[in-house]
Amino acid sequence: VRDGIILEGLGIKSVVLITEAFRREALAQIKALKREDLEIVFVPHPIAGLKVEEVMEFAHQYYPQIKEALMRNGFKQEVSV
């Protein structure tokens, strides 16, 4: 969440990826930091420990959602995996 806020502060359009296990914590942080405007995509837990090919599979699976969120956030360029 904080990385997303920092990137947004630098003018870099961002989507925050949160694993489902941390949904409650992320939402609490967003509320506390008053950044309900952040674009978030929730993904399955865990990511840590996945092999590279598993992460790639994961990226392809969530690419449409992430792209949609980025575009919603004002990202203008084409996004690809």
Binding site: R2, F22, R24, E25, A28, Q29, A32, L33
Partner: protein, 349 residues
């Protein structure tokens, strides 16, 4: 009124505090107006003055709220300078308290108090120093924890996602043994005057025991300490940061007898507390990203016999003296992504 002198009114307040989860799992002292005012009298600051914003939930810690937590923890009012200084130190951006509070790692901020205030307040540095039995240690550490819980929102299972935590998440406060310390005090190593009182904060794991009953020379004892430091599973190996070594008075005396300075100790531990590359690659947080971010450039990854240091340089190994009789010392590994040692002068009110 019961035969313990507990009024029904107080029991009601305690019950309410439990209901609202304003606690660490143990009963708290009800923060009555009178008790809170006694702390405020000691502090002599505007009760509404903001001490800081506590992450991750960004709760506002006013002077009065800190005083309330001191009462709930069982602190004497005169402990206030230590609690306030510790809190203000942890809130420095470079400490990354947000990360410390929310990480899955088990770290908790350890407070090491040093200087004349140790004796003045009776903060314990001897036998069983990391254990129970000493009001100042227990309640100062607990006040900090209650503030982190209630104002920071680091509720276990909610915003505190530590996989395990450790017992120091109830209270984690020790003092340095000035008389048994043959070297500079901890706070002198961080730029403060010898006669200053100081609060040193370090987010770290629970202490790990170093047993050395057979060596009666510096190199032997420090080799045992180095071996205990250099494990595959600690965070320092892959993320560096700081590590702390608490040397017992007996071990310290033996090391000093051989004319080893504190700098000698740090340099020896830096050189010897290492893990061979072939082992370092097999676990922990070994990754391309971590290697690039933390490991020194001179490390030859292709060389299986290369020895990987735990920290970037000898000065990232903090050395202090505490503990009772016996030939044990303690090693405390850090988190690596924040919570590194921060030392502040305690200004008595």
């Amino acid at each position: 009124m019961s035969n313990l002198g507990v009024t029904s009114k107080i029991l009601t307040i305690e019950d309410e505090l439990f209901e609202e989860a304003w606690y660490d799992g143990l009963p708290v002292v009800p923060p009555t107006r009178e008790r809170v005012d006694a702390v405020l009298m000691e502090v002599d600051r505007d009760p509404l003055e903001i001490v800081g914003i506590i992450p991750p939930l960004m709760g506002v810690a006013t002077v009065e709220k800190v005083a309330i937590h001191m009462v709930m923890a069982g602190c004497k009012p005169e402990y206030a300078p230590v609690v306030f200084t510790a809190l203000e130190t942890m809130l420095k951006p470079t400490f990354n308290l947000n990360g410390v509070q929310a990480t899955t790692h088990n770290c908790s901020p350890l407070l090491v108090v040093s200087g004349p205030i140790v004796k003045k307040l009776g903060i314990h540095f001897g036998s069983n120093v990391f254990g129970s039995g000493f009001r100042a240690n227990a309640t100062i550490g607990r006040a900090i924890r209650l503030i982190l819980l209630n104002l920071g929102g680091a509720i276990p299972g909610e915003l505190d996602n530590s996989t395990f935590g450790h017992p120091g998440k109830y209270s984690f406060c020790i003092a340095e043994d000035e008389e048994s310390n043959p070297w500079s005090s901890l706070h002198e190593d961080y730029g403060l005057a010898h006669d200053a009182s100081a609060a040193t904060l370090f987010a770290c794991e629970a202490p790990h025991s170093v047993n050395d009953h057979i060596n009666h020379h510096a190199k032997g004892i420090l080799s045992t300490i180095a071996d205990t430091m250099a494990t595959l599973g600690n965070n320092n190996l892959h993320c560096h940061g700081d590590v702390m070594v608490v040397i017992s008075p007996e071990h310290a005396a033996t090391i000093a007898k051989d004319h080893w300075t504190k700098q000698d100790v740090k340099e020896f531990l830096f050189e010897r507390a290492r893990v061979p590359m072939h082992l370092a690659k097999t676990g922990g947080m070994y990754s391309k990203e971590n290697k690039e971010a933390f490991w020194p450039k001179w490390l030859q990854e292709a060389d299986d016999n290369e020895m990987v240091p735990l920290v970037k340089s000898p000065d990232r190994i903090a050395v202090t003296v505490a503990g009772g009789l016996g030939r044990f010392s303690m090693v405390l590994h850090g988190w690596g992504f924040g919570g590194d040692l921060h030392c502040s002068k305690i200004n008595p009110y």
